[in-house]
């Protein structure tokens, strides 16, 4: 009982132990902040990396694999499969307005099934936002126009409703739907003039078609170098041009079965939207186009088989009546809720193998196919971040050991100061164990208070880390998390309660460990010497 009584009094009347508490608090706060930011960063990287790749993917050779529709049918019969979608991936060149040319990763998709697998539609940048979504954007973002009475958006409102002439590009003619109506009938609104451009862009992006039904192209938001990234998941288009509704030319290189290059194929596409997954290597390089269009450009579409022995009167080969199946390079699959990707991968492997058995020789064997879960696909990508997180955490944990040394030295001093009290307690019958417990209890309470204060401090800082970061940037020019450099606009600001609790427990443990040696020393003090201690 005397331990609790004395501990509460020591706590209220001694300054030095409060320093031990402060050191535990600071170390706990430091580790929680670092862990939250780094782990949040890892989560963001993982989430961004996971976008647009489904749960499991079948990757074939660059020349594609045939009978993919049978594979899709087989997959869709599985109870573990929610959706599956064919894709073609190849490299290409994109010629944008004003002779801007970029090397791009061309991704041919079937928009509807691809959206079912990956949530593609939610990555479209130009779409009407809910009020809650719009409110999260910084003031001045064009996409707030529906909700934002801000006069600074007036010009953008005019663009979206098609009446602005950008002075810089005035000589090039009007831009936006109003101007485009004069030049590109593709964008005339079949549903009437009242439907906003954002609504039309959303539909066009989801279907990869203009309102008139022409195949469209959706580039990543950073494909055009003039889309300048600003904070708050926004891009500044002012003084530049508005990519959607513009026309671009895509050039791809069809390959022979032997891997040689045929004549390049070019095609003009209207840009029907842009997308952003907040992953730089995707947003700056990927362009989506309809899979059937890419198939044709690459010569991978289904064709009628021609006879090699029979010819018509003009000497041309006669069709055999059979079709050579089309090819794709990839199939992405989404698992039903509760199905582990690893389990799905096994079933996808079995499904592909069963189709292969029906078409031996006409498809790559399963051993040549790459069937991987999403985690396996991005393992290399997130591996570096994981290692970095582990390294930083290890370093900060080692630094936190300083708290143990600090607590040890503080408690060594406290025991020195309390030598006579120890003698008194021993004289009234306190045991050595009781004396040890007195100081350990003291350290335990200091540790608990320190860890709780540290956790509170960390939660406060982590939750306000972005305003703090903005303040440092504005006042002192210190910008650690530059949205132009990093993939993410904001510093992760969530504290994982489980890990925070673990770190707090470690803080308490460190405090008790630090006090252990002084506590044992206190217990071993000779009571007679202690009573004579001056």
């Amino acid at each position: 009982m005397y331990q609790a009584s004395l501990t509460s009094r020591y706590l209220l009347r001694k300054i030095i132990p409060l320093l031990a508490m402060l050191s535990v608090a600071l170390c706990t706060a430091m580790v929680i902040i670092v862990f939250s930011v780094m782990n949040g960063f890892l989560d963001l990287v993982t989430q961004a990396g996971r976008k647009l790749i489904g749960d499991v993917a079948i990757d074939g050779p660059v020349t594609g694999f045939a009978w993919y529709e049978e594979v899709l049918d087989e997959l869709r019969r599985l109870k573990t499969v929610e959706a599956a979608s064919p894709m073609i991936e190849t490299y290409g060149l994109l010629k944008m307005p004003y002779n801007q040319i970029a090397q791009v990763q061309v991704v041919g998709i079937d928009p509807e099934s691809y959206d079912a697998v990956t949530g593609y539609a939610s990555t479209l940048y130009w779409r009407p936002l809910t009020e809650a979504e719009a409110k999260r954007l910084p003031a001045g973002d064009i996409r707030r126009e529906q909700w934002e009475p801000d006069e600074s958006l007036l010009d953008w409102r005019r663009i979206l409703h098609g009446s602005l002439l950008d002075p810089e590009f005035e000589s090039l003619g009007p831009i936006g739907p109003e101007g485009l109506r004069n030049h590109t009938p593709e964008w005339q609104n079949p549903h009437g003039a009242n439907e906003s451009l954002l609504e039309r862009l959303k539909v066009a992006g989801r279907t990869l078609q203009t309102p008139a039904g022409s195949p469209g192209l959706v580039p990543g938001i950073r494909v055009s170098i003039v889309n300048e990234r600003v904070a708050g998941r926004s891009y500044d288009f002012r003084g530049t041009w508005f990519m959607p509704t513009r026309e671009v030319t895509l050039t791809v290189l069809p390959l022979t079965d032997e891997g040689g290059i045929r004549n390049p194929e070019s095609r003009v596409f209207p840009v029907v939207n842009e997308f952003a997954v907040e992953r730089y290597d995707v947003d700056s390089a990927y362009v989506f186009v309809p899979v059937d269009v890419v198939q044709k450009m690459l010569g991978m579409q289904p064709v009628r088989e021609l006879s090699t022995t029979e010819f018509d009167e003009f000497g041309d080969p006669v069709p055999t009546g059979r079709m050579t199946p089309g090819r794709v390079t990839r199939i992405v699959v989404k698992a039903r809720a509760g199905v582990a990707p690893v389990r799905l991968r096994e079933q996808v492997q079995e499904a592909y193998a069963s189709v292969f058995e029906r078409h031996v020789g006409a498809m790559p064997p399963p051993s040549q196919m790459n069937i991987r879960t999403w985690e396996e696909q991005i393992a290399l990508y997130i591996g570096a971040v994981k290692n970095e997180t582990a390294l930083v955490m290890t370093l900060f944990s080692i630094i936190s050991l300083v708290a143990v040394i600090l607590v040890l030295s503080i408690f060594w001093t406290v025991v020195q100061q309390k030598t006579r009290d120890i003698g008194i307690l021993r004289a009234v019958g306190a045991s050595r164990l009781g004396i040890t417990w007195l100081f350990l209890l003291y350290a335990l309470i200091l540790g608990i208070l320190g860890a709780a204060i540290g956790c509170g401090l960390a939660v406060l800082i982590v939750h306000n880390i972005n305003p703090i970061h903005h303040f440092l940037g504005e006042q002192f020019g210190i910008v650690i998390w530059d949205p132009k450099v990093y993939m993410f606009d904001e510093v992760p600001n969530d504290v994982n309660p489980v890990f925070a609790t673990m770190i707090m427990a470690a803080g308490v443990l460190f405090a008790v460990l630090g006090a252990l040696l002084p506590s044992v020393r206190a217990a071993l003090i000779d009571p007679v010497s202690a009573l004579r201690y001056e």
């Binding site: 005397y2 009094r9 009290d421 008194i424 004289a427 009234v428 306190a430 045991s431």
Partner: protein
């Protein structure tokens, strides 16, 4: 009267640097139940050492004699038994009071009972123990000082608190080490009155002092000279 304490051939040697300094050189000494014994001796004669050995705060030399409490050799007891002995069988009063500065007078008085009963035992008896502590303070004229800190008390008041603390667990033996050594003559006299009063109520007391006049208040005086008892 039976012997409460029997000290036989007690020897204690301190080592100062490389030199062994024998303090007690084979001392024999008995204390009967209800007796007040004054141990008289000059500074450095080993009076306090004798008290510490009798209270199991210190150990005699190897084969350095025995201290028998109710015919049991306390030096053969376990550490736990010695702790219990110090807590319940003896009560110490020191020259420099040795009160815990963070606790108030009432809590200092109750300290030995806090040690004795542990958390749950103390809490379940809290009101009873606090009543006992308050009664002791009342008996020593300190009831108005119960909530004060030791630093707010005079020397005499502090020593009265120390005596109250020593008596809290109703020990069989009160060991007083120069209880008036830090007080003026008047205050010292008042403290001796308090000790005499507890003795009148049956308390066995061993008091060490260098002052013959103070020692004369006891039932019996034993004198320590050269590490042995000179007079009995």
């Amino acid at each position: 009267m039976t012997h409460l304490l029997e000290v036989r051939s007690l020897r204690k040697t301190y080592r100062l640097g490389r030199v062994d300094v024998p303090v007690l050189k084979g001392l024999d000494f008995d204390v009967r139940e209800g007796e007040w014994v004054a141990v008289l001796g000059a500074s450095g004669s080993g009076k306090s050492t004798l008290l510490h050995l009798c209270g199991a705060l210190d150990r005699p030399d190897r084969d350095g004699g025995t201290v028998l409490y109710r015919e049991q050799n306390i030096n053969k007891w376990s550490a736990k038994a010695k702790d219990r002995y110090r807590n319940t069988a003896v009560g110490f009063v020191f020259q420099f009071y040795h009160l815990l500065p963070e606790m108030n007078v009432l809590q200092n008085t109750a300290l030995a009972s806090m040690v004795r009963y542990g958390h749950l035992g103390y809490l379940s008896r809290r009101s009873q123990l606090m009543r006992r502590a308050a009664q002791l303070l009342d008996a020593f004229g300190l009831s108005n000082r119960a909530r004060h800190k030791p630093a707010e008390l005079s020397g005499g008041e502090r020593q009265r608190v120390a005596i109250a603390r020593a008596l809290m667990n109703e020990p069989a033996l009160l060991l007083a080490d120069e209880p008036t050594g830090n007080l003026d003559a008047v205050t010292g006299g008042q403290i001796l009155d308090v000790i005499a009063e507890t003795h009148r109520q049956g308390q066995t007391i061993v008091m060490v002092t260098h002052d013959r006049a103070i020692a004369s208040r006891a039932d019996r005086i034993v004198e320590l000279k050269g590490g042995r008892l000179a007079t009995s």
